[in-house]
Symmetry: C2
Subunit: 170 residues, 2 copies
Amino acid sequence: MSIVPELMAANERYASQFTNGDLPMPPRHKLVVLTCMDARIDPLRALGLAEGDVHVLRNSGGRPTIDVVRSIAVSQEMLGTREIVVIHHTECGSVRITNDSIRQRLTESLGPDAGRAAGEIDFLPFTDLDQSVRDDMAILKSSPLLQPETEISGFIFDVKTGRLQQVDPT
Amino acid sequence: MSIVPELMAANERYASQFTNGDLPMPPRHKLVVLTCMDARIDPLRALGLAEGDVHVLRNSGGRPTIDVVRSIAVSQEMLGTREIVVIHHTECGSVRITNDSIRQRLTESLGPDAGRAAGEIDFLPFTDLDQSVRDDMAILKSSPLLQPETEISGFIFDVKTGRLQQVDPT
């Protein structure tokens, strides 16, 4: 059964107490937060942020894909952000897969069309959590589409404690 | 000046009251929420959700890019989600740009290397908000990488009222 009726009822309560109708479009903190889709992470609450404060980008792993670079370029050029925070996390699904294993699973459960489509996708698994954060900071830093003065920091979120640990970029 | 010290202090307060250390990795609601990076949207609060409930994917516009399909395939295959909610919103930056305009702006502010990189990216602008939601539901529905029983719903979030309006898929 779809969860949509439950979501709509909850949104009705949210809208009935809504006081953010005058927020400007540009993020108050000129910040983009890039993190994983993982259900255990609420990036706004974990960072003490609220509506209006930051752009949030999320995908599997919190990796700086072309889609992320596209989004940051728009965020910076159109809405003036100049800082990026990359947050990976403990117990990430991206360390439990390899490209081969996820492609094989998708082929087995969905068939050869899925197998072909999956074969063209890099699922961006990683093995070393700290290194994955350093890699992603470096990828962003080297992109010609980011403003050169962009400040980039990297963190690991511990899903057992809710605590962020900063990762040295070098 | 970087906002990192402020974020770290806020995270220390979050961690000191953290009670979610036992949450399982699979999302409680078997749901993926795909929405825009826009600062005015807090998808969890707007839908009455919390840590542990759903996977959240966010990019510029809330569009179903390859990166989004990659992430949903992982979410479904590894962590059992079977429903997707697509949420676009009023006053979206994606209706204020065209591929030509954003590429020209990036070239002017960052130089020819940025112009070449931007020329290879579709920034996924749109003009009709309702149609953009319908298009994105259709793109997801037709992907060979999604489980065939996936339920997909589409919504528009009104940034002035905080209210969601469902979009008919046809």
